[in-house]
């Protein structure tokens, strides 16, 4: 037997075995379900969380007027959902940049008990009508900061391109710990 043909046979045998052991391909419906944003999968839960994060707004309205003179930014209402617990807090946007179809954002949470989580799924909710805008992964960076780097397109792009960190942000955040997803 030639060595070339022996290797080829071995590869074929390995491929056949891998195909036999591989799990079945997921069904189309399941893939569609995975692709859907969580607020469509669990609309009631989203509605509850959105209502709750919406109620935080009045708490920082007064502080906002004070802080605007000091270049300290406007706190963004945030609801942290972690391990079945919900924590109302504020996020301070440290960096925002909308460019070339991408949104880059950094924020820091005001109060988060214990060690900061490695990542959140951040859902941006419209400040006015509690409409979900987008969802992206926020990853822990230096100094307890979280960073988001995601595709960003559509009607909001033009408005958000002009945003400064010192402006009032047109969104609120629902931050779900990765373990709570699904």
């Amino acid at each position: 037997m030639k060595p070339e043909s022996a290797v080829e046979q071995l590869l074929r045998w390995r491929l056949a075995r891998a195909e036999a052991e591989a799990p079945h391909a997921p069904r189309g419906a399941y893939l569609l379900k995975l692709a859907r944003p969580w607020w469509e999968t669990w609309p009631e839960w989203f509605k509850l969380l959105a209502q709750r994060v919406g109620r935080i707004e009045t708490a920082y309205g007064y502080a906002m007027a004070e802080n605007s003179r000091n270049r300290s930014g406007h706190p963004v209402a945030a609801l942290v959902v972690r391990g079945g617990e919900e924590l109302e807090t504020f996020a301070r946007v440290l960096y925002i940049n909308v460019r070339d179809g991408r949104l880059r954002l950094r924020f820091q949470l005001d109060a988060l008990c214990g060690q900061p989580l490695e990542a959140f799924e951040a859902t941006f909710i419209d400040d006015k009508d509690a409409r979900p805008l987008l969802s992206a992964q926020a990853t822990l960076s230096v100094d307890s900061e979280y960073r988001i780097d995601t595709e960003f397109s559509g009607q909001l792009t033009r408005d958000w391109e002009l945003l400064k960190v010192t402006d009032k942000m047109p969104f609120r955040l629902i931050l779900r710990a990765e373990t709570d997803s699904g």
Partner: protein, 564 residues
């Protein structure tokens, strides 16, 4: 130009901050800014240049040197002498610097040292690891963050704000008053050694002169010289002491006020590694002391005109590694008791800690250290080679004295006195001596004035005595106690009389001499005789020999004055 990529990053950071993309200033947000720039903004050529710099440790060190010497000097950070350390400490944890060997020491600390805090881990009976290095940096204020920031640990804001308030009090409030009072009472002075000896001898001389004048032999003609010398010496010593005290107090106050104003415009960053969540306020004292030190370090040498602060922080700079502290602190700087035994045990076992500042409380002090050292069954530092420390032979025990000194304090000001080694028993004793001597001098001041600046010679005035067996000598003077009247006669007994104060509402002071005929009278003339007015010298109740005559009157004149 070397390391252009860092300039590129820095300008991106500044521009982004200016245009509103970044919230934090380039300095305060440098960690996050670098992370963002390196991930998304740096060009391919920047990445290549950075990688080239990181290829060898030599080029990494070159970059650090450039950052410290050139970059920091060319940016607006040059005013703050600690900013570049903060920059190095921040970026040392980031890509790609966290893989660079030259950044190793900046990852662990800012390299500025500080007084350690004794913070017990949960359930710890007091181990060496519980003595934790604390570093403090003062940067310009960050409007997006607190005025005092914890790095490497978590604490309630009140646990950090209270030490900061205590710092403000120590720089420009009641705390500073307490510190200055303690220093005035028992603190070392800024004199050279020879002057200190001269001043001590001066005070001894003053006390000696006072004793000599009060109880020694009558100096006679030398009285004025001795009194003049005493007054000049005492005045000189008081002048030197007051000038020194006033100068140092005013300078310390001015410097303190200046730093207090800077504290208001600063962000103090306290770093203590370990990721602990602090429960309780016993780290308040080391936080306060380190924050105070950070303000000193942040400012340039040109600002430093106070010997008091300079000495304190000079000592701290050199020896802070040997100090640990524990104590809950109030905003006014007072220390409250804490759990002490386990902390002292931790200090005893910790290498390098020679002094510990604690609140003054039951269960602290040297006895507690001896007890804990004995409980360990051996000298606490014998496990590792340590520099020789004071070993005192104690008869009957043959025990080695622990190398840990406990300094109990009621107030941060006392801690500063200890840290700056201001406490001086010699100065305290000298101050007591000087105060006692000065009190005696103040009491004797009127007598000295009468000797050195005598009042003008008085004139005899009416009335004269209406009674034949009395001679009145009325003098026109405001100081009747400083004159004597002496009668010398061949008919009457010679007498020396003191002047009584004013008689009646308007009468002048007068001496009333009861005339008694001398048995050995050599004349029959009842108006024979002369009255002399003499100066009277006293010192602290002691009467000296009469002074020179300053007036002479005939008895006949005195009998008729006012009747003519």
């Amino acid at each position: 130009m070397s390391f252009v990529w860092f300039w590129t990053f820095w300008h991106w950071s500044k521009e982004s901050f200016r245009e509103g993309s970044l919230l934090r200033s380039p300095l305060h947000g440098i960690g996050g800014h670098w992370d963002e720039w390196y991930r998304h903004e740096a060009s391919e050529s920047d990445h290549e240049a950075i990688a080239k710099t990181g290829r060898s440790e030599a080029s990494q060190r070159q970059f650090i040197s450039w950052l410290l010497l050139h970059w920091a000097g060319e940016t607006e950070l040059r005013a703050n002498r600690q900013a570049h350390r903060f920059v190095l400490g921040q970026i040392a944890h980031l890509e790609p610097f966290k893989h660079w060997a030259a950044f190793e020491k900046y990852r662990a600390s800012y390299g500025i040292g500080g007084i350690s805090a004794v913070v017990l881990a949960e359930g710890s009976p007091g181990k060496p690891e519980d003595v934790r290095a604390v570093e403090a940096l003062a940067l310009t204020a960050d409007p997006t963050a607190s005025a005092i920031v914890a790095e490497g640990f978590q604490a309630d804001s009140i646990e950090l704000e209270t030490p900061r308030s205590a710092v403000a009090s120590m720089l420009g409030g009641k705390g500073l008053l307490v510190f200055l009072t303690l220093w005035l009472a028992s603190g070392k002075r800024a004199y050279p050694r020879w002057l200190e000896i001269v001043l001590s001898l001066g005070w001894v001389a003053v006390a000696g002169l006072i004793l000599y004048l009060a109880a020694g032999p009558d100096p006679g003609e030398g009285l004025i010289f001795l009194c003049g010398t005493l007054f000049a010496l005492w005045s000189g010593l008081i002048l030197v002491a007051a000038t020194q005290a006033a100068t140092q107090t005013i300078r310390a106050w001015q410097q303190g006020r200046k730093w207090c104003a800077r504290l208001e415009q600063s962000q103090v960053r306290l770093r203590m590694d370990g990721g602990l969540t602090i429960k309780g306020g016993s780290a308040g004292l080391p936080f306060c002391l380190n924050a105070l030190h950070s303000l000193y370090r942040a400012n340039s040498h040109a600002d430093r005109r106070s010997w008091l602060w300079e000495r304190l922080f000079h000592k701290l700079r050199g020896e802070s590694q040997a100090w640990a502290a524990t104590g809950s602190i109030t905003a006014e700087g007072f220390l409250k008791p804490v759990m002490l035994e386990a902390k002292l045990r931790a200090c005893l076992q910790s290498e390098g800690i020679k002094h510990v500042l604690t609140p003054r409380q039951h269960g602290g002090g040297r006895k507690a250290v001896y007890r804990l050292a004995d409980a360990r069954g051996a000298s606490p530092k014998q496990t590792a080679p340590t520099p020789p420390c004071s070993v005192k032979v104690r008869l009957g025990f043959a025990a080695e004295e622990p190398c840990l000194r406990v300094h109990p304090c009621r107030h941060v000001a006392q801690a500063l006195m200890r840290l700056g080694e201001f406490n001086s028993k010699r100065q305290l004793a000298l101050n007591f001596f000087a105060v006692a001597t000065s009190v005696a001098m103040l009491i004797a001041l009127r007598d000295l004035k009468a000797i050195l600046l005598p009042p003008p010679s008085p004139m005899v005035v009416a009335p004269s005595s209406p009674l034949p067996d009395y001679l009145w000598v009325s003098l026109d003077t405001m100081h009747p106690d400083q004159f004597l009247v002496v009668l010398e006669s061949s008919y009457w007994l010679n007498r020396r009389a003191e002047l009584s104060p004013r008689v009646g509402a308007h009468g002048p002071p007068r001496a009333e001499i009861h005339l008694q005929r001398s048995e050995a009278a050599s004349t029959t003339d009842q108006e024979d005789g002369t009255v002399w007015i003499e100066r009277r010298y006293q010192f602290l109740g002691r009467e000296f020999a009469p002074g020179r005559h300053i007036g002479r009157y005939d008895v006949s004149y005195l009998n008729r004055i006012g009747h003519e």
